[in-house]
């Protein structure tokens, strides 16, 4: 019987992503602050922020509909399920057999769909601006993401993340041009999807330049907590995705012993830290681009994904 350990592993991963995601956000902020030579808030600040928001009362606009109230929970649920599908320290997730990479994209897509609707629900101009920009970005990021998935699926012969991760960890992968392109494209998509510099600025106070923040301007209290939590989860999801696809070292296989789980968990935390430092470095060294440059940026990601896929058709070894 391997079902029970699998359930345990799955449960552990779901709890892990929930626990670690605010820490990753806090860590990135801390590193950025240190790079700017300021002290920065504690890495645990996002946990405190979430607690504080949970305790605060919710201020709702008079004309807010049920959609506005429900959206935070839907986004949180969708993002959490999507994050649970990505192998963090071990492959062979229970849920992997029910949902693949395409399902992750769909889950995140529906979360965004509801957030964009909620942004427009109250009828403020900022919400509308944010929603329209977000949808513009999404309409370019999602095709790019799908092309990346095609590349990986063609290589691994599956769209299931556990299988792909196991394949990527195996020696038969080799060095491939298309994988390199897919990695670059995935990083670009991840930056856009997570509203990071240069596509969006998560730390800005300028309403007119916001994308993600503009949509959630009207949220408060536990609703905002849910949205912030989902944003952290999403960042962790993408980092985990990149890690398990392109740095699948020390991932514990299905049915492995506790020792290899421990090694996997340690390696995972190491990967997160490395990604956090890289992200902070990149964000510090770049200015935000003009809104209308974003299509070019994501267009490049799309072309890279397309090239990666096409190269595989040309030659199986590229």
């Amino acid at each position: 019987m391997v079902v029970i350990p699998d359930i345990l592993v799955q449960g552990a991963q779901m709890a892990l992503v929930l626990l670690l995601s605010p820490l990753l956000t806090g860590f990135v902020r801390k590193v950025k602050a240190r790079l700017l030579r300021s002290r920065g808030a504690s890495v645990f600040q996002p946990y405190r922020d979430l607690l504080r928001l949970m305790r605060k009362e919710v201020v709702l606009a008079e004309n807010a509909s049920w959609l506005f109230r429900v959206t935070p929970y839907m986004i949180f649920a969708a993002t959490w399920v999507a994050a649970a599908l990505v192998p963090t320290f071990a492959t062979g997730l229970m849920f992997s057999w029910t949902a693949d990479l395409i399902a992750i994209v769909a889950l995140l897509g529906s979360a965004r769909f509801f957030l964009a609707l909620a942004g427009m629900d109250v009828g403020t101009s900022f919400g509308g601006i944010g929603s329209s920009r977000e949808v513009m970005i999404a309409s370019l990021a999602e095709p790019a993401m799908l092309l990346i998935i095609f590349t990986l699926a063609l290589l691994a012969g599956a769209t299931q993340l556990s299988t792909i991760a196991a394949f990527m960890a195996s020696p038969e992968v080799g060095l491939r041009v298309s994988l390199g392109m897919a990695l670059v494209a995935l990083v670009m998509v991840a930056i856009a999807e997570n509203a990071r510099i240069p596509v969006d600025n998560p730390a800005t106070h300028l309403e007119l330049t916001m994308v993600h923040e503009a949509m959630v301007l009207e949220y408060s209290g536990r609703h905002l907590a849910m949205i912030e939590f989902s944003a952290s989860l999403k960042l962790l999801l993408y980092v985990s995705l990149i890690a398990c696809l392109f740095a699948p070292w020390n991932l514990a296989g299905s049915g492995a012993g506790p020792a290899s789980y421990a090694v996997g968990a340690g390696a995972y935390i190491g990967k997160l830290a490395a990604a956090g430092v890289l992200l902070a470095l990149f964000e510090t060294a770049t200015a935000k681009m003009r809104v209308f440059r974003v299509p070019q940026f994501l267009g490049a990601a799309l072309m890279l994904g397309l090239l990666a896929t096409l190269l595989l058709f040309v030659s199986r070894s590229l």
């Binding site: 950025k32 700017l36 101009s125 240069p198 300028l206 007119l208 060294a285 681009m289 209308f292």
Partner: protein, 493 residues
């Protein structure tokens, strides 16, 4: 071509108005003057009212001369300047709110500073009619007066087509605190303190302008050492603000690295100011007659050290700015002010000088001790965000050199002169970091301020923000706006 002195002959000269002449003219000469301004022959420096008269300060840029023309209007009506020269529009609307003077023929009679809430008994204010914009798919975005960041209050009404700004209309007056009516009847020392509080980041420039105007009215020349100390403070203020802006513009392009480093430079300047003059922003240091306190002991060496340190650090930041392509992509070609517009509005400071208007009150009009100092007035004509940043960079470099020259040439002697108590009128133009601050004062026989008008450079820069943003995208507005960094408080009075 008539000069300002010829114009003065057309009216009756007012005795005791120094250093520039003032003449009371009849409506025909007034209209002639307006025509000359509209043609671009003279530049409008300011327009202000009082109970039954309206005044207009003029500048002849080629000759570097200034003058004031006044028109008596006992019925409270005068021929509008703005109907032929749009830069006067907001000034006339403000004068109408403050003194009830009605400009005949003014195309826009909406109140400006008065939001209908000055009297407690007033009913809820009338809705303000924003200018309409017609077209398919246009919608409005209202921003402010309360902003998400910690900045001053002002309302911006964007009419946008998608992301493109079709029209921006500003609405100010939220920071109105009644400076002009507080000034009326105030003792000179009290009025000087008020002047220093009109716009906090330019407190030295305001106090400087006020003091010079008051001294001109009283016919007093401050001691030489006081003049040099004033210039030192003015340059320190300029340095601190230019460093601050240099970083803040970057921050709006989400590049906090430069912001953090520039903030360190600004902080060093402010701390040095604190050590030398006992106040980080050097508030209330400049008083009519001289300065309130001398430099602390050892200040000269410390300031020399400061400048040496800045000279070492600042070029690195400039280089980082110049070499970061993602930043340049945001600033070059964004928010362009065309040179003719800058000239028409008489925009001072980096706004004018980035758009080809080589006006600097320290040079064009000139006042001590700057006539004894060497400095360049940098001018560019691209008029975009990048140009305004570069003017600031060049000016900061000039200010560093000026600080050194001032320290080397600092004369000894007393720091304040005694003020006589007599009536008089005076006007002064002082270059603050934003541009030329105009101060006009009338001192009554009792030695108290009868009327004082302070005109912030932002009056002629804010309208250019509206022009610069048009056709840009909404998301670039914060960057454009920060590159102007106009004052709300100085404008709202």
């Amino acid at each position: 071509m008539p000069g300002l002195s010829d114009l003065m002959l057309e009216g009756s000269r007012v005795q005791g108005h120094r250093p520039a002449p003032r003449a009371v003219v009849d409506p025909a000469v007034w209209n002639f003057t307006v025509g000359k301004i509209a043609e671009g022959h003279w530049t409008l420096l300011g327009l202000w009212g009082e109970a039954a008269a309206v005044h207009m300060a003029l500048l002849d840029e080629d000759a570097g001369e200034t003058a004031v023309v006044s028109l008596d209007c006992p019925d409270g009506r005068y021929p509008s300047v703005a109907q032929r020269h749009p830069p006067a529009l907001r000034l006339e609307r403000a004068a109408r709110d403050l003194f009830g003077l009605t400009p005949r023929g003014l195309p826009d009679m909406r109140p400006w500073l008065d939001h209908g809430r000055w009297a407690e008994s007033d009913p809820a204010s009338q809705p303000y009619d924003f200018l309409p914009a017609e077209g398919e798919g246009l919608h409005q975005v209202a921003v402010g007066p309360v902003h998400a960041g910690i900045i001053e209050p002002g309302h911006f009404r964007f009419t946008v087509s998608g992301e493109t700004v079709v029209r921006l209309e500003q609405r100010f007056g939220y920071a109105h605190k009644g400076v002009e009516s507080l000034m009326a009847g105030a003792a000179l020392t009290q009025a000087a303190r008020l002047a220093g509080r009109v716009s906090g980041d330019s407190t030295v420039a305001y106090a400087f302008a006020f003091a010079r105007a008051a001294e001109a009215a009283l016919g007093v020349e401050p001691p030489e050492r006081a003049q040099w100390l004033r210039a030192l403070m003015a340059e320190l203020e300029r340095l601190a603000n230019h460093f601050g802006d240099f970083g803040a513009v970057r921050n709006d392009a989400a590049f906090p690295l430069l912001h953090a480093h520039a903030a360190v430079l600004r902080e060093r300047v402010l701390r040095a100011a604190d050590a030398c003059f006992g106040h980080r922003f050097m508030r209330d240091r400049i008083v009519p007659g001289g300065v309130a306190s001398d430099m602390a002991a050892g200040s000269t060496d410390m300031l020399h050290g400061l400048v040496a340190d800045l000279r070492q650090r600042f070029p690195k930041l400039v280089e980082l700015y110049d070499k970061t392509a993602s930043l340049q992509d945001r600033t070059v070609g964004t928010g362009i002010v065309k040179p003719p517009l800058a000239r028409q509005y008489g925009a001072g400071g980096f706004v004018g000088r980035a758009s080809g208007r080589p006006f600097d009150a320290r040079r064009t009009v000139g006042y001590p001790p700057y006539d004894a100092l060497r400095f360049d007035v940098p001018v560019l004509d691209r008029g975009d965000v990048d140009a305004r940043v570069w003017i600031r960079i060049r000016e900061a470099e000039q200010s560093m050199s000026l600080v050194e020259q001032i320290l080397r040439g600092m004369p000894g002697g007393p720091i304040a002169a005694d003020l006589p108590s007599r009536a008089g009128e005076g006007m002064a133009l002082v270059e603050g970091f934003r541009g030329d601050v105009l101060a006009w004062i009338r001192i009554g026989g009792d030695g108290k301020v009868a009327r004082c008008h302070l005109r912030d450079p932002s009056w002629f820069q804010w309208p250019l923000v509206e022009a610069a943003v048009e056709g840009n995208i909404v998301a670039d507005f914060p960057l454009c706006n920060k590159s102007f960094n106009c004052s709300y408080s100085g404008h709202d009075l």
